[in-house]
């Protein structure tokens, strides 16, 4: 194996194998990342660093490796989005209202990771309650994208809501990270930060212990530097959980097995509705390049139609806020979380605790959600949005009769500057235009870095697959990765000396 000079540059797969063969120790690797995290604080990728716990976990992994007892991810250091409840470790959801919340329980997904021997480096920054596409909605301040435009010192957003995880992976502060994706919160920051991000099929990963945003759309997934790493991480994160009624009892295949099988003989669908008017030329160019790569590798290209695509974003911005308005009602200052001081009655307690605890975007979505569920508006908004959702799912079902996977751009553009879109929520919402459809239909989708914009900022291509066919999605993703040969890394401007 041709390994990089520093273990911090290892892929997750390389590190896993190096740990197993005792070429490096978990403690050594973990200490390296802990140091790198501390040196990268200008990125603000982490809300909570857990270096002591990481050292303990790594030491334990080294003992298991020594005794020949290594598990699937033994000694692999990971970053965890701060939406996953971690036992005895503060979990904020990026919100002031949970600023000091320490859960007495561990989410199923992170429990799966720790049971496989993974090491927790810390909790990553994110848009508050996973609502946002730039990580600027965090109570703990925005995250900086490790990437900057060519010849520029402008700070770019890493995307969101899993912006901290994306930045941490891109800046080599961990081998991989967890994210959650409700409308694109894994894939969009992955695309903007030049990494791989995958949203599995709804029901593949347990939602138990993940702070809920929109329950019918939320899904956890891996964020990594390579497609293989995503396959490895997903294999451990996924699985049926009787504590989540929407989790699906289906075997989790070995996602690494068919990874290198290529796309020869596969039918790749190209949906005409994803060609947006006014989209930057480099997005279209990259998409065309992606189609050519697929064709060159022996795939059959199929023109498909997903006619209800244009209704997806409006439907999403009804369904997601509706569920959020109800899911966030529990943050009332009564049992845990922020409670306003000096209030006179229960109504004031609610109003002030929530006004102080929630940021502007969360408040906006709670209001939208409350409105669309209100008597007299429910049928016009919520019921219609659900009908749109059914039609979008039907579009995909019909398309998948003619193809095995669908190739689209991941985002309508590259990373934008901090502050550039904060004044215009609609412009911000448009970031999700290519990603929300997979959430509405519950389908697996991956974003793979595939090239650079005119400004040398990373761009991603998206592969959408059939329900529970993550294996094909990963296989196509790997083919893109191989063809793109995307190896550029951001220059470490953030590193403290």
């Amino acid at each position: 194996m041709d390994l990089p000079a520093s273990p911090l540059e290892f892929t997750l797969a390389e590190a896993r194998d190096a740990l197993r063969s005792k070429a490096i120790s978990a403690s050594e690797l973990t200490a390296g990342f802990t140091k790198a995290i501390a040196a990268a604080r200008p990125l603000n990728a982490f809300i909570t660093e857990t270096s002591d716990r990481a050292a303990d976990m790594a030491a334990q992994s080294d003992r298991r490796i020594a005794s020949g007892d290594a598990r699937a991810l033994e000694g692999v250091p990971l970053a965890i989005k701060d939406l996953f409840c971690t036992k005895d470790v503060r979990t904020t959801a990026g919100s002031r209202i949970l600023e000091n919340f320490v859960p007495p329980y561990e989410s199923t997904v992170t429990e799966n990771l720790w049971n496989a021997g993974a090491v927790m480096l810390g909790k990553t920054n994110m848009d508050e309650f996973a609502m946002g596409s730039s990580n600027e909605n965090s109570w703990f301040k925005p995250v900086a994208n490790p990437w900057r435009p060519r010849n520029s010192n402008r700070t770019m957003v890493p995307g969101g809501s899993s912006g901290g995880s994306a930045a941490a992976v891109a800046a080599q502060l961990c081998l991989g990270a967890t994210g959650t994706d409700t409308g694109g919160s894994i894939r969009q920051p992955a695309a903007l930060s030049g990494i791989v991000g995958m949203k599995p099929t709804y029901g593949r990963c347990s939602r138990w212990g993940i702070v809920a945003f929109a329950s019918s759309l939320d899904q956890a997934g891996p964020m990594t530097r390579t497609v293989r790493d995503a396959a490895i991480l997903l294999g451990t994160m996924a699985g049926f959980d009787p504590k989540d009624s929407t989790s699906v009892e289906k075997d989790v295949p070995d996602y690494e097995r068919d990874l290198e099988n290529g796309v020869a003989g596969l039918r790749i669908g190209v949906p005409r509705e994803y060609r947006l008017e006014g989209a930057p030329a480099d997005i279209d160019a990259l998409w065309s390049k992606g189609v050519a790569w697929m064709r060159d590798q022996g795939a059959e290209i199929v023109d498909i139609t997903l006619p209800h695509t244009k209704y997806a974003l409006p439907a999403y911005y009804i369904v997601a806020p509706a569920e959020a308005s109800s899911n966030l009602a529990r943050y009332d200052g009564v049992r845990y979380g922020r409670r306003a001081e000096g209030v006179m009655d229960i109504t004031e307690l609610y109003e002030r605790s929530r006004a102080e605890g929630f940021g502007a975007e969360v408040q906006r979505r709670v209001l939208i959600g409350t409105y669309v569920l209100s008597a007299g508006y429910y049928d016009a908004y919520y019921v219609r949005a659900q009908k749109v959702r059914t039609m979008i799912a039907r579009d995909f079902a019909q398309a998948f009769q003619r193809c095995d996977a669908i190739l689209t751009p991941a985002t309508p553009g590259p990373a934008f500057a901090v502050g550039e879109k904060t004044a215009d929520p609609i412009a911000m919402y448009l970031n999700d235009v290519f990603t929300v459809t997979a959430n509405l239909a519950g389908l697996p989708a991956i974003s793979v870095p595939a090239g650079l914009s005119a400004d040398d900022l990373p761009l991603g291509l998206q592969v959408i697959g059939k329900a529970f066919d993550e294996a094909t999605v990963l296989r196509v993703g790997r083919a893109i990765e191989r063809a793109a040969g995307f190896v550029v890394q951001p220059s470490p401007w953030w590193r403290l000396s």
């Binding site: 959801a93 989540d244 929407t246």
Partner: protein, 493 residues
Amino acid sequence: MSGAVERAKLIRGKDGDWEVVIGMEVHAQVLSHAKLFSGASTLFGSEPNTQVSFVDAAMPGMLPVINRFCVEQAIRTGLGLKARINHVSIFDRKNYFYPDLPAGYQISQYKHPIVGEGEVLLDLPGGRTVRVGIERLHLEQDAGKSLHDQHPDLSYVDLNRSGVALMEIVSKPDMRSSDEASAFVKKLRAIVRYLGTCDGNMEEGSLRADVNVSVRRPGAPLGTRCEIKNVNSMRFIAQAVEYEARRQIAVIEDGGTIRQETRLFDPRAGETRSMRSKEEAHDYRYFPDPDLLPLVIEQPWIDTIATSLPELPDDKKARLMQEHGISAYDAGVLVTERELADYYEELARDVDSKSAVNWLNNEILGRLNRAGQSIGECPVSAQVNNTILKLMAEGTISGKIAKDLLDVVWNEGGDPRAIVTERGLTQVTDTSAIEQAIERVIAAHPDKVEEIKHKPKLAGWFVGQVMKETGGKANPQAVNALLKERLELPADG
């Protein structure tokens, strides 16, 4: 139901008769060791906040998982109400803020309940039966409890009850009097207790009723209804209906109109008070709970539950009337409590039904009522009482001795047959012993012997004296016959 109205049920107003129309919403706590979605214990009377899981406290990231047993209990109840079980039902969120509602929403069923239309038959005095339609039954979570009396300025919250499974049973507006309203709750209570799906304890709040009341002129369209909350006993239900009907009649007769509103029953004042109007009603923003899949119930499961149903009050009543030849009234009383009917059946085994009913009503229930006890607390088993009835039927003991014997076993326990033998309580049928007693009575009361010659009714007095003389052990028929012979009275049979 608006056709012929029985005059007796109408309420007389200032200028004509009024009919009261009543519908009910009964909340019955599902008999289950665990809550509806969390698996936490449902133990009543525990220290505050000791029966609370992370789900019940609505901690971040917690998810509900349906308790299969609670679903089974709802199906069982639906079958007991002769209702349709819906193969697909949906859990919805009912959103509102209150400190004892941790999630800010209650998981309930709104448009698609687990149980559809059914019926309940009410047994009313005089053998009258009224059919009350059931609109639906749905499953939902209970809220916690706010405690306002623990601190001068602060309120406390106890979440032990949070998440406990409730069945909301909604009737059609088929009741026409306060008697029918309380008979409905009584019958519903009997049914769920027979089924073992709710303990029916109104004092502990396991069974709570909201009463919808409206009034109209007989035959007119339905009037505007008011919903009365907090009516937690049969007596209060009757009181609340009476008060509310008269209040509404008075308002209308004074030229006013009834506003749709929620009212609270105050048991101390015996009146209802306005709580909130329709305009102030919450907008609950119901929508399907995305954390839960639609509840799908396969027919074979329903069939299995159906075969395990116990005999229900109506069937039991019909069978008791047929097999035991007892009256509709007696049978109706017996089946109000499953324990009572069971007790009766054990008691009446191989003995005369009428004497078993009388013995149960006069002796056993009489003693229990005086002690404020229920049949379940009866210190003497039905088998023991059955033995006493048999001893009486065999002629071994007299009725008087039987009552004494019941007192003995009631207070001291023991086997009635053994007690009869040990204490020599066997009835005296030996004619010579009785004749000797008669001779002693005649010798002691020559005046009475003279008197009876023109006053034959005095025979009863003689019987009593002879019984006294024999310590109550003499067979009364034998005493009667021998006395008549000795005193040469006419054998009038």
